[in-house]
């Protein structure tokens, strides 16, 4: 992959050495704070998101919605402390009032409440934590990807759609894992044979796979993000289990299936967007992304792109004036943009109401395993906590 084409802003150093506050006036570009994870093992998602965001801005020659923007990208290194320092600097020194880009929940929970408290608008462009949903909602907080439990819910819908009567679950023993599994079990109509809990970042699954072999489930619900899923799939493939679907929601992307190969052939994913989705905005996005970055965008890139377009629509409506936060909110809420997902609208707690599709994996002409859209499993799906939200 090599060093990324665009360097992140010399955030810390430049701020530390610069003297004097910046004064914003109507002509200068709107600053958008993109605090995301670009380094460490989790950096791939942030890079995808950032690349897509920058693509959107480049399309309009450095503008979004016709308004010049200044994307201040900063890497939090998956460290809540670092993120907090970056957020403080962006709030106080750069006067930024529009934030997005955060990928991971631990960073989100560390800085978003403070950003909101300072009166900024935050658009969550990855999983919106349950902690900030429902009765903890905030008028200045929007989610442009999906609400916290949507992946688990969509996996359940996929399992129901494929008539799986019983299965086993396997998730790591931490909050996200337990949350997703809980959401899955709520929606799944069949029987749960057994729940397997593994250690966070576990690498060897022999013992668990032997248990699966013994119980002979018709399917597996797995929430094993990143390297965990790859290890599990590879090891499962070696065991005498046969072909059973592995419901993995958003955790298995095209990059993962290409890496894992045949072992991923039974993965049934689900997402609100797939690269082969058939609408003009999506086709344009995928083509441009492929040309600019020589790889297929993941759903995280799609979220980044949509967020950029969403912000663009808001800036167009307010003509680039973000001093009136209420007007900005209203413009964002209207969501008047061409989403790559097709239909896009906000629910009562300001998380998306969108369709979810399932994907199955097959070999393409060059022998690579690629996920394909296999039909809709949820229509206009929103957060179950939406009506608990009262502004």
């Amino acid at each position: 992959m090599g060093i990324s084409a665009v360097k992140p802003h010399l955030a810390f150093l430049s701020a530390a050495l610069a003297i004097g506050a910046s004064v914003a006036h109507a002509q200068s570009p709107v600053k958008i704070g993109l605090i995301t994870t670009l380094s460490t093992a989790g950096g791939a998602l942030g890079q995808d998101m950032r690349d897509a965001f920058q693509l959107a801005a480049k399309e309009e020659g450095g503008k979004l919605g016709g308004v010049p923007v200044d994307l201040m990208v900063a890497d939090d290194g998956l460290n809540p402390n670092t993120a907090k320092d970056i957020a403080e600097r962006m709030l106080q020194h750069d006067g930024i009032r529009l934030f997005t880009g955060i990928i991971y929940t631990n960073v989100t929970l560390a800085i978003v409440p403070d950003l909101l408290r300072a009166g900024a608008v935050v658009i969550q462009n990855n999983t919106g934590p349950v902690e900030l949903d429902g009765k903890n909602c905030n008028p200045n907080l929007f989610g442009s990807a999906w609400h916290g439990e949507a992946p688990g819910e969509s996996a359940a819908a996929a399992a129901n759609a494929r008539n799986t009567k019983q299965l086993m679950t396997i998730v790591p023993n931490y909050t996200s894992g337990l949350e997703q599994r809980g959401a899955f079990k709520r929606g799944f109509k069949g029987q749960i044979l057994d729940d397997i809990l593994v250690k966070l970042n576990q690498t060897d699954y022999a013992a668990e796979i032997s248990q699966i072999k013994l119980r002979r489930p018709e399917g597996i619900y797995m929430f094993l993000p990143g390297g965990m899923g790859i290890s599990f799939m590879r090891q499962l493939h070696q065991a005498d289990i046969g072909d059973i679907p592995m419901y993995a929601a958003t955790t298995v992307s095209e990059q993962v299936t290409a890496t894992v190969g045949e072992a991923a052939r039974n993965v049934v994913g689900s997402a609100p967007w797939t690269p082969d989705l058939d609408n003009p905005a999506s086709r344009k996005f995928v083509a441009e992304f492929r040309e600019a970055y020589k790889r297929t965008p993941t759903v995280y890139a799609a979220n980044g792109y949509d967020t950029a377009k969403l912000i663009g629509s808001a800036l167009a409506a307010t003509r680039g004036d973000i001093s009136n936060i209420a007007a900005v909110r209203k413009a964002i809420l209207a969501a008047k943009f061409d989403s790559v997902r097709g239909k896009f609208a906000f629910g009562a707690s300001q998380y998306p109401v969108e369709d979810w599709y399932m994907t199955t994996v097959s070999k393409d002409a060059s022998g690579t395993y690629v996920p394909h859209n296999a039909g809709k499993v949820l229509t206009a799906h929103g957060s179950p906590y939406a009506d608990q939200c009262k502004f």
Partner: protein
């Protein structure tokens, strides 16, 4: 049910043997040279990456393994000559920091060269799929291969350590370093040899395990902690200790993941049992170490290589 129990036993043994590959070299480095080498996990990672890159390029798994062995052996030698050599006199703290720094550099360089996504690696078809042992018992071929290799290496090490001159010197040196030096043995040359071989074993372990896991930067960091736990249990410097401790850890870990949840589920309410079982099974290995150290603070086979 019997088949299930037998299969889990094989799992425990395989886990232990693969862990042994990693810890054998580490305990020698530790005991013989008195150096804490956190970067052992980085060599493990390099072995995995070299196998992946070379086998993809050449289409041959065996060539990939050979390349991994060669590369990590050389890297081990280079590391020893340039860095580790200067750490002998220094305290453990400096060794920890210096090798921690090597981990950072290795992870960063790997990411720069290969990117942040785990990379592709397939098991060769002749080692892939299940091995049919009886009518209702099958075991993955590749894991059986790992067991066979693990046993072979253990036997080899036993012979080398116990029946060769070099082995004798290393054994003596790992528990009584000053004495060996006083007897006029060229310790410096042996150091380089041991470190290089230890690194090669680590790289071998990494390459062997790689097809079953995600090959990504930092893959060695978690497991190196486990390796040190094994060494402490077995006694620093003792290869025999590393062998038995590895097996113990393999058994305890597998038991913790299989038997414990089952037992707890039968006797307590589900919510309690799940939380408890995970809490205990993820810490089982550490509890084992604590227990051993209470009884024998220097480890099980301390002083006996």
């Amino acid at each position: 049910m019997a088949a299930f129990a037998f299969e889990q036993s094989l799992n425990a043994i395989q886990l232990g043997l693969t862990l042994f590959l990693l810890t054998a070299g580490l305990t020698l480095t530790f005991g013989f040279m008195g150096v804490i080498n956190l970067a052992h996990g980085s060599v493990y990672m390099i072995g995995a990456y070299v196998l992946a890159a070379v086998s993809l390029r050449t289409g041959s798994f065996l060539i990939g393994i050979a390349a991994a062995l060669l590369t990590t052996g050389i890297i081990g030698l280079l590391l020893e000559l340039s860095l580790v050599r200067r750490l002998y006199r220094r305290g453990h703290l400096d060794q920890v920091l210096a090798t921690f720094a090597v981990i950072l550099i290795a992870n960063g360089l790997t990411t720069w060269l290969f990117g942040r996504q785990p990379i592709q690696l397939d098991i060769p078809s002749y080692l892939s799929g299940p091995l049919r042992l009886t009518a209702d018992l099958s075991y993955p071929k590749y894991r059986a291969f790992l067991i066979a290799l693990g046993v072979a290496i253990a036997v080899l090490l036993h012979i080398v350590m116990g029946r060769t001159r070099v082995g004798m010197r290393v054994r003596a040196g790992s528990t009584h370093r000053e004495l060996v030096r006083a007897l006029g043995v060229d310790v410096r040359g042996l150091f380089a040899l041991v470190f290089g071989l230890g690194s090669m074993l680590a790289g071998f372990a990494g390459a062997l395990i790689a097809p079953l896991q995600a090959v990504e930067a930092g893959m060695g960091d978690q497991i190196v902690i486990l390796a040190f736990v094994v060494i402490v249990i077995g006694g620093v410097g003792s290869v025999r200790g590393a062998f038995f401790a590895s097996l113990m850890v393999g058994i305890v870990d597998t038991l913790g993941r299989v038997v414990l949840p089952f037992l707890l589920k039968s006797f307590t309410a589900p919510a309690v049992s799940t939380a408890l079982s995970i809490g205990v099974s993820s810490t089982a290995v550490y509890l084992l170490m604590a227990a051993v150290l209470i009884v024998r603070p220097a480890g099980l086979f301390a002083g006996r290589a």
